[in-house]
Symmetry: C2
Subunit: 120 residues, 2 copies
């Protein structure tokens, strides 16, 4: 994906526990690459790549301070992800989550007989 759509890039960036942990750490404040790498048992280049993934997803910006490259969380793209997810909030808020409703198997959810569901 040379330059796939932003949402896919953001979701893909979040689909890794190491990167999510990095974001969590970054939520506490700026950090350098070595600081971010410390909790993990992987090489520095590996962390550097994770940071690049986050950077490409616009979840991270970096400065330059001497030979350090302080990383900072840029949470704006997460809003896009949340926005997409919010579109489906109605599903789990209204209890369509298969919590013991095996009975209505042939019942079409969308069969709006009297509920008028389309107004989101």
């Amino acid at each position: 994906m040379a330059e796939a759509d932003r949402l896919s890039t953001v979701f893909a960036a979040l689909a890794d526990p190491t990167r999510r942990a990095i974001l969590a750490r970054l939520a506490e404040g700026e950090a350098t690459v070595t600081e971010l790498a410390e909790p993990f048992s992987m090489s520095l280049p590996a962390v550097s790549r994770h940071l690049k993934v986050l950077e490409r997803a616009r979840l991270l910006t970096r400065g330059r301070s001497a030979q350090w490259r302080p990383c900072r969380l840029e949470a704006a793209p997460l809003a896009d992800a949340t926005e997409w997810l919010d579109h489906y909030r109605a599903f789990w808020e209204r209890g369509f989550d298969r919590l013991g409703e095996h009975l209505t198997q042939l019942q079409k959810i969308r069969n709006d007989s009297g509920k008028d569901t389309d107004h989101d």
Copy 2:
């Protein structure tokens, strides 16, 4: 990743426009595989595999009705994703560069998400 953590699986499943489109279609009601495949210019097996990815992420359940396998959106895992993202909402809502007073509130993120974020 034979059975990686759920959040990663969910985010990875969402990191594909085809799969997101499938979920969007499914939000309108149950659909069979061929119905889901129709809007896309790809083979049926390809769609079948996308469905399997969604199924493994618990975003989809399937029934059996004659030779059809009706697919149904299972939105509960999306709530987990939203929950994770919500921890960072303060960042994009306030748009601050440095952080100070929010740290105490964000501190609990580590406690809550420690079960799925960093390991290995």
